[in-house]
Amino acid sequence: MIEVKDIHKNFGRKKVLKGVSFTVNKGEITCLIGINGVGKTTILNAIMDLTPIKRGEILIDEKQHSPEMYNQITFIPDAAIMLPGMTIQQAMDFMKEYHSVWNEKRAKDLLRFFKLKVSDKIQDLSKGNVAKVNLLMGLSLDVDYILMDEPFSGIDIFTREQITEVFSSRLVEDRGVLITTHEISDIEHLIDKVLLLDDGVIMKEFYAEAMRENEGKSVVDVLREVYEG
């Protein structure tokens, strides 16, 4: 379980996170929703130890961050983070060299599924194909937790369908997934837990299915209630 406990973060004088707490459980897809600039990516970066927090604590399976954790948790960002001159094959080789949990068979399966060519250079890829490569790099690691930042941002409908298919597949089964998005309609039916982030805190936390069954509201309905009053 990922435990985020009362984290605070400032950018200059601006308080971005004012005591955010939540958990991400294995076998669940947790969706962190909030308007732009509210601190969603900062939370993911903090969990990955890519930015320091002012106060609070983040535990992964009850342990604090260490380099070995990057074989237990992975981050799929919304932009290319491999060197632009690398081919997809070289990017895969890079991951294989450093990550003991790299799953070559799964990487090849995903390569076929996404119809990517190993000889293509990262710098020549479209936004949609960059998203696919990022997914390939992240999902080919046998990790317990996957963090995804805006996977549907700026990509075409066919790529969205492919990514949605990945979400509903066994590739994310048994893993704890934390995803940030504002394109909620595409994956609403796949989400287990929803976290609404606003004004530096988690405004509302609920299970989507329970909300549908008990109150007859969709995730989008709840979003409207919270953000539009």
């Binding site: 060299e97 990550h99 990262i122």
Partner: protein, 282 residues
């Protein structure tokens, strides 16, 4: 431990693959410029000598009596040799900054991937540092080899009676710049390069301060660099402070400066470790 060393070697290899174009370009310029100097300068000397002897109807002996014979000295102080050395120094100062900032400001933000490698972040730090060390010593070795070859080329262009031959150790004593970059005493060589590489460690720390705290970090980093410079040079103040100009031998003063440089190097490594582990931000 074994796995950790394997990862480090891979990181060094990875950094080398990213640096070799720059290194080979500087090496290429060095070879081309040096060769031009080894050929053009002696040819120019011989043309001038023949011209003067023809106009003044001088014999070779008479010419040599009134003019200096040619040697590696004018070559060694020419722009053909000193230019590439200056370019190499400026190039590696620039590269020491570039080696970090390209991870944040390149076309893709590679620092994400780099920091998420399951190895200690100090391995990344030392891989980058080792690249600078490898680059500098590669250039030095090439310059030495070039001077040795240069002596052979020049001695074949200039006729024997017009030429004073020097061996490599003598060539290295010909000008002040060579005496700085190729000190003939082993301890001085070691000490000079330790100070040089400690300066690179301090520069890395300044960059990590800036990458951790942005503008505030840059101010902190510059303050740190000034403090380091003051600390390393502080033994020079001992005679003034104690109003005794014979309190230290020169060799003791140099030893103190080397010692203080090592302390600065250690502090820079520890500070960088702290920044990379706790403060760095993508």
């Amino acid at each position: 431990m074994k796995q950790s060393l394997k990862h480090f070697i891979r990181l060094v290899n990875f950094e080398f693959e990213r640096m070799y174009k720059f290194l080979f370009a500087v090496m290429g310029i060095l070879i081309a410029a040096n060769l031009a100097g080894y050929i053009l300068l002696p040819l120019e000397y011989m043309n001038n000598a023949r011209e003067i002897m023809r106009i003044d109807s001088l014999t070779t002996a008479q010419f040599i009596e009134n003019n200096d014979p040619f040697s590696m000295y004018p070559v060694s102080i020419s722009l053909w040799v000193l230019g590439p050395i200056a370019l190499g120094i400026i190039g590696f100062i620039f590269y020491s900054v570039f080696i970090w900032y390209r991870e944040w400001f390149g076309k893709n933000t590679f620092i994400y991937r780099l920091l998420m490698i399951p190895v200690s972040r100090m391995q990344i730090f030392f891989a980058k540092f080792l690249m600078i060390v490898i680059g500098v010593f590669s250039l030095l070795a090439l310059q030495l080899l070039s001077l040795w070859i240069g002596e052979i080329i020049v001695s074949n262009i200039v006729l024997g009676e017009f030429y004073t031959s020097y061996n490599l150790p003598q060539i290295l004593q010909l000008n002040y710049i060579f005496q700085i970059i190729f000190p003939s005493i082993g301890e001085v060589f070691l000490g000079s390069y330790i100070i040089g590489f400690v300066a690179v460690l301090v520069l890395f720390t300044v960059i990590l301060f800036e990458r951790s705290f942005r503008i505030k970090g840059l101010v902190m980093g510059i303050g740190y660099a000034i403090a380091c410079l003051f600390f390393v040079l502080s033994p020079n103040l001992i005679p003034t402070v104690f109003k005794n100009y014979h309190i230290l031998f020169d060799s003791e003063l140099i030893l103190l400066i080397f010692g203080f440089s090592l302390i600065v190097g250690m502090i820079s490594i520890l500070l960088s470790r702290y920044l990379l582990k706790h403060k760095i931000t993508v």
